[in-house]
Subunit: 383 residues, 2 copies
Amino acid sequence: MTPLAELETPALLLDRRRLLRNAERMEARARALGVALRPHLKTCKSADVARLLPAAGAYGITVSTTREAEYFAAQGWRDQLYAVAAAPHRLPRLAALARDGVRVRLAADSAEAVRWIGDAAQREGVVFEVMLEVDSGEHRSGLLPRDPVLVALARRLADRRDTRFAGVYTHAGHSYGAGGIAAIRAIAEDERRAVVDARERLEAAGLTVPIVSVGSTPTATHATALAGVTELRAGVYVFMDAFQAAIGSCTLDDVATTVLATVIGHQRAHGRALIDAGGLALSKDRSTRSLGGTRDCGYGLVLDEAGSTLLEGLVVAEVYQEHGVLESRPGASLDFARLPLGSRVRIVPNHSCMTCSAFDAYQVVDGDRCVAVWPRIHEWSRT
Amino acid sequence: MTPLAELETPALLLDRRRLLRNAERMEARARALGVALRPHLKTCKSADVARLLPAAGAYGITVSTTREAEYFAAQGWRDQLYAVAAAPHRLPRLAALARDGVRVRLAADSAEAVRWIGDAAQREGVVFEVMLEVDSGEHRSGLLPRDPVLVALARRLADRRDTRFAGVYTHAGHSYGAGGIAAIRAIAEDERRAVVDARERLEAAGLTVPIVSVGSTPTATHATALAGVTELRAGVYVFMDAFQAAIGSCTLDDVATTVLATVIGHQRAHGRALIDAGGLALSKDRSTRSLGGTRDCGYGLVLDEAGSTLLEGLVVAEVYQEHGVLESRPGASLDFARLPLGSRVRIVPNHSCMTCSAFDAYQVVDGDRCVAVWPRIHEWSRT
């Protein structure tokens, strides 16, 4: 039970109550929509966080690196979707998990990947379950629902003895750029329709489609119906961030992760105060830039040390490796009396997934106390 | 001696020959300018790299976090400048180093910081050496050379029994935004004049100024004279990056750090190829954005697997957590034959300091072989 005032800075704080509330809200949404929730643990990379997500234990998880797959498997999560197209060199590590009885569904969207996976399964003496990715409008990866290659690849996976066709999934990442909640809802419906379309074509071709999976935090938050879908994936919902608050996935009071920083400098002539959290501690994510106006919060918004009051009109305007520059929004002047040298603030990050990755642990806070330290993994190399 | 082809991706590669050449070039510059070189190890965060920098051993090093100070002290570097204003909570850890006989010069630019440092020195029973920071035009931190506070703080440090005034330093970080080499040269001269001005005022007030320190990689590369200066600091020069190449600190052939990535997807209809190095592996640094035109290289430039050929006209146009999107520059079309699925490329990062921080180790390469693995530190917490 360390008082917050005794923590060194920069420190990554995690508000346990907010985390629980965010988790509960998304679980309730999935129940209301009649789908299973498969949390994406790329955001938290922490078994302690995952243990607080009932869906992760009851149903399964999503991961984005081999390291995450191995770590969460070792901690007991044995039903996984690895939602990034598998590169050939990853397959021996994933085969080792399969031999251990861990069910890691791999992802593919090309004939080449299906071939690598089949060849590796044969070589390693395992059976790989494979999901095919569908492009529902983001155009980052995946096959169009009507692409005949989709059916051909599913059949190839189903026909081989060393692979199984596990279903289809899509990620409507372009929901992050939608202008308002009505637009997010429309993208959620496109997302649903893309995988349901794919499912219908695959079933018409005589294939069984066990999993039909959609997900992104904005679409998961605003989707009104998910008929034909079996599971929902979302990641950043557990922590939220300034970007998710700005686009309406939550309010600022829902953001569970902040960076505690110390005011280490004043440049009064230039209206700038300096904190000891820079580009490494906050990340250089500028996702709110595209929102413009007052929704652009630079490299983060500024709260008081308790995390209860937003210092209105103040943003992290610039970051250097270990320095962050606090400035007032254009037109306002910085009130240095609110930021005495040596005092502390909390920064609400643009993007929790990026910011958390700089730290090895969460300082779990409840009120003004740190009640636990939860380690998190980073990097890609072997455990 | 692992063949590069056997490395998993994403991997951080370090070209040993280029590192040595970059190190040698900056050492030669410092000798020619008649100043000592104090390498800033925030870029490499690695004792293995530091051991290849003769100046680090002969003279001393610069650090930016308490963790770096502790790590490098434990590895034998016992003459350090900690070039970020010291926050109060850091001082007990730094006092422990001082008690061990490590000479860590602290930084300050305010009466408050001088007071914390003095109070902590008294409480901890050590003597702290303190450098005062001068603002030479970046306006991030530091006092103006003619600010009477500068002389007052130096005198306070010199007068106390538990502190010593160690000198003045400045960092012309605004050289990163200079338009061309003539402009960088002018900033280098401003940088020099600022600390020499400060030195003269301090000496006129009867104070001794042991160290007069300047530095940034662009100004260190282009400064023509450093009369009155005693030491030069630079960090990113050891690795360089796409930004430093774009502003003329080096050529692309000098960049020693690249990220090895695998091509995992093709979106032919959208002219995009996907790699397995995204925002976490490359960082979200977009420093070349401000340069515009063809000098803006998105999130990085693309080389072939051997690192010897630039894939002209190709950039990392977008990054997601674990995905990078390769696109051709506007007007050109992407040649997918150069990027077969499963093949590998190397990404030249915008900013090596940020990109390296995502990795726990350097894969040191010489030709097509990985000849060593050098660990690096990250994070801020205690060793």
